[in-house]
Symmetry: C2
Subunit: 632 residues, 2 copies
Amino acid sequence: MNLSTLLFGRRLANREHEDKKIGWIEAVPAMGLDGLGSSSYGPEAALTILIPLGALGVVYIGPVIFCIVALLGVLYFSYRQTLAAYPTNGGAYVVAKENLGEYPSLLAAAALMIDYVLNVAVGVSAGVGALVSAVPSLHPYILPLCLGIVLLVMLANLRGTGEAGWLFASPTYLFIICFLGAIGFGLTGIVLAEKPAPVVPPPPLGLAAQGATIWILMHAFASGCTAMTGVEAVSNGMGSFRQPVMRNAYITLTIIVVILTLLLGGIATIATVFEIGAMDQTKEGYQSVLSQLVAAVAGHGAFYYIAMASLLSVLCLSANTSFVGFPRLCQMVAADGYLPKAFAQPGRRLVFTVGILFLSGFAALLLIVFGGITDHLIPLFAIGAFLTFTISQAGMTVHWRRRSRGYAAKLTMNAVGAAATGVALVIILTAKFAEGAWITLITVPLTIAILKSIKNYYRSLQRELRKPGPITVEDVEPPTVIVVTETWNRLSERAIKFALTISPDVVAVHLIRLGGPELDERETALREEWRVEVEEPIAAHGLKPPRLMFIPAPYRQLHEPLLRLIEKLDADSPERRVAVLIPETVKDKWWQKLLHMNRAGRLRAKLVKLGGPRLTVATVPWRLYREEQEAG
Amino acid sequence: MNLSTLLFGRRLANREHEDKKIGWIEAVPAMGLDGLGSSSYGPEAALTILIPLGALGVVYIGPVIFCIVALLGVLYFSYRQTLAAYPTNGGAYVVAKENLGEYPSLLAAAALMIDYVLNVAVGVSAGVGALVSAVPSLHPYILPLCLGIVLLVMLANLRGTGEAGWLFASPTYLFIICFLGAIGFGLTGIVLAEKPAPVVPPPPLGLAAQGATIWILMHAFASGCTAMTGVEAVSNGMGSFRQPVMRNAYITLTIIVVILTLLLGGIATIATVFEIGAMDQTKEGYQSVLSQLVAAVAGHGAFYYIAMASLLSVLCLSANTSFVGFPRLCQMVAADGYLPKAFAQPGRRLVFTVGILFLSGFAALLLIVFGGITDHLIPLFAIGAFLTFTISQAGMTVHWRRRSRGYAAKLTMNAVGAAATGVALVIILTAKFAEGAWITLITVPLTIAILKSIKNYYRSLQRELRKPGPITVEDVEPPTVIVVTETWNRLSERAIKFALTISPDVVAVHLIRLGGPELDERETALREEWRVEVEEPIAAHGLKPPRLMFIPAPYRQLHEPLLRLIEKLDADSPERRVAVLIPETVKDKWWQKLLHMNRAGRLRAKLVKLGGPRLTVATVPWRLYREEQEAG
């Protein structure tokens, strides 16, 4: 068992693809982690904006969250229709490609890709941030912790979704149980008690520094909308579901949206009743909204710590949603020629290895550049999500319009979805422009430009390699074969023997690096050896013996004089092609590579790169040590 | 003009080798920097050992330095004889190889190699250490400064000795002028004045903590001997001298030894008269011995700063001596098969690029590991030098003994040299054992073991590739040619056409990654296309049309099913060899490599590695974009 088998498991056959698909029980953690995790920072972000309003701010959190939940409802019904209409893949990229054309689809692809990368960086750094504030002694290790989690999630995903399941399922379901439990318990207490009081009262809210304005409420809404990122994950991940696909997808989407709604509604209600507000993160004694909420409902007992630990895990692992979506998206985009083909190639475990590595690498780069603290990237993140929502719903609207009648209700639903998410997008863009939303105006067009130029490259390649039509066989004259030799040994013997089987016209070329009288001596000796060992036995067999040529290489590079010789041969007999045979020792071990100059490999690369179009370069391999036994 | 031409200069022809050789004016800086620079730390190291003796210590510095200078004299005359006896290369490795046998020569090689690497690390870090104590604000940049200097010296040497000359000559000659001037001026003052007094008095010496013992004096001698490292540089560098070689070598050696003697003697005299002792480096207000000396003689004027700056440069650049010696030594050792052949290969500028890079890399590694402070490596350094001296002189003694009479004087001279340096070596080893000399007992045998195992590898390789005797031509039956195709395009057309020229027996293999009904459809379509586009035109030409085979690759790796096919073909007709042709697109640009999967390259590597000894693998290159114009 070697290292890669240990790390990634055995190589899977194509037919095992079906076995790797998942049902809703695995899909809720795989696709919902991002959405559920965002319930922790959405309300917190909205309340943070409301801080200047003091105790009054908490009053407004209800209406703000209500708007977000209403939007979530619209999105839920819109996406159900998308899933039904695109049962193999209902991602924004596909929907836009089929209904809106190339550029909208690239816009959706770019927005989603950026979003997925940001989600990994932001999710992991939020989780580690929460962990570090719980255990301050870990503070010096923020970046290593972040990178370690990315590595862990990457390895789990390289093994495949199935295997990754157990890692993500338990914290997700624990999180759901804890927080729905806490909220349910809290709400029951509020309803039953005459005068509900928190177990641990939250810190008192500050005085109002200003009154509520439309701008502040818009801003709070825009911030709160981060709670909705991750809803599109199901539509992008249709390919992962096992049969019955539609049922699994519906159940997954429903569970995610219902739980998210319950969490958001519950948080808003309890926060309002118990007057829980956001605290300034930069000040000492900071406690997150959810931490205050659980303490207010259940006190600082064991439950508090279990709940907070499950929240931490969900945040850390919410990166996983990106690992489900990103490689699949890239595979589709690559299959259409907008990304390198390698993204579309299933790896050892039938997952799209290149996409997973690229996502991990890019997220790790972001984490390294920002030192593991990526809070200010959160606004960017909501923009990507809402851009995707809007394009997807707009695409669906066109989809229904193209059909004949009978789809008016569905069209209306998706149009409402497109309008609602479009308005939200404008609000977020406006409210968050100065905070970093402008960056999307650079990165999205840049990404689209890259995708488009990759497509152009493949298209021109395709044109160049176009079907040639029926083959034209002008002549099948054997080529002139040049065998590169260093001295007369078994390596060159083997190459000469092979050359004789493919052509009667063989030239052995001995390249000369040195000069002076020693050389003349050596040349005479080699010529004599050649005559006795090669020319005479071959001539005795009635074959044309190979010529031996000495070519000076005054600049110690072999390819230049060789290319000149090839040109000359080409000019002398243009009807004959030229093939170069290079004897090569095969190195099995890394240290053997250090002990050889890899002259054969370098010469081959240079000839292939610089040789004319009629040149063929072959290597005659000679495996060290094992050769004798095998040759028998 | 590309980047490498700018950095390293144009590629030189073999015949330009002579032009790159140097005379004594360039050789003194190139080969003497190490020896001259060591005059600054030799006396200082001896005086440091004498610190506990207080003012009494300074009295003993005279006799200690006298012993060192006497040893230097013996060495000078011994080495003159070595140069005369080995006018092409008189390094310890060659002398030991010819007179003492394999293991002594490897011992010399190992000692010298380690010494050269240590010299770079120690010299650069000593120079930077002095610079930093002069300009304390540079303290945070010790390591970057060290690495920067190594890089600079490396680049200069990659360009070649000639070009590196100007960089090293000016500080060397400035150093010689300044310090010989200061010493001469100081001695004149001492002789002329009735009661000589220092311009700036050195700090008063401490009280004697203990009396002088043999052990302390031995220790001081051992430490002072570091002043003699670098004397062997001339004998190792004989290959660099231009005609008349002997004269240039004699003059260089004489200049280096005479100046070193003057410096050591002058330093000892002035230190004794003015009572200059070493100071504790770890205490504040530390001043080096040479700094105190120049101040005592000439005060703290402009001259002081110029002299100290020249000393700094000499220390920093003393690494250059290693860059002259190490690559040449490695070239000889590699030519004998004890190091990878790459060390013996002259690069673009006719210098031994691999040796230079290896030396820089290893020294940089030492600097990084020790954070740029390598003082404690100095003792190791003297051991390497004296080990080399002893082996070299012992070898010369054997050399003269083998001759008939008439060489008694020369034999005696070298025997005295061997004995003297051998005794010194034992003293150094004993005195410095606990301080780190024990490390040589590990590194030297380890290096010898590595050299020896490399030799064994090459020897077994040689045995394997031994002269095969006259070629045996059993049959020249053309091979079965397998052409790997992906689809019918111009790439596969070209490969098929070439295959037809070398064999009538061509098999086109189409590897199938997918399964299911789509595949069957595709297979039918491809078969039909193949029949119309390939088989019929070729059959119409009266040739045997290539067979088209579909081979499933359920694990998405192409080489496994292909190897199975080759095995089958081999079994079916064992008299035919098999050749695989892989069409390959040639990528000129790095970004093209990102956009292609390099399937051809990976398949080729796998086949070469895993295929049997009878397999030949060829690539048919197709250059993108430029193909059409060139093919015409």
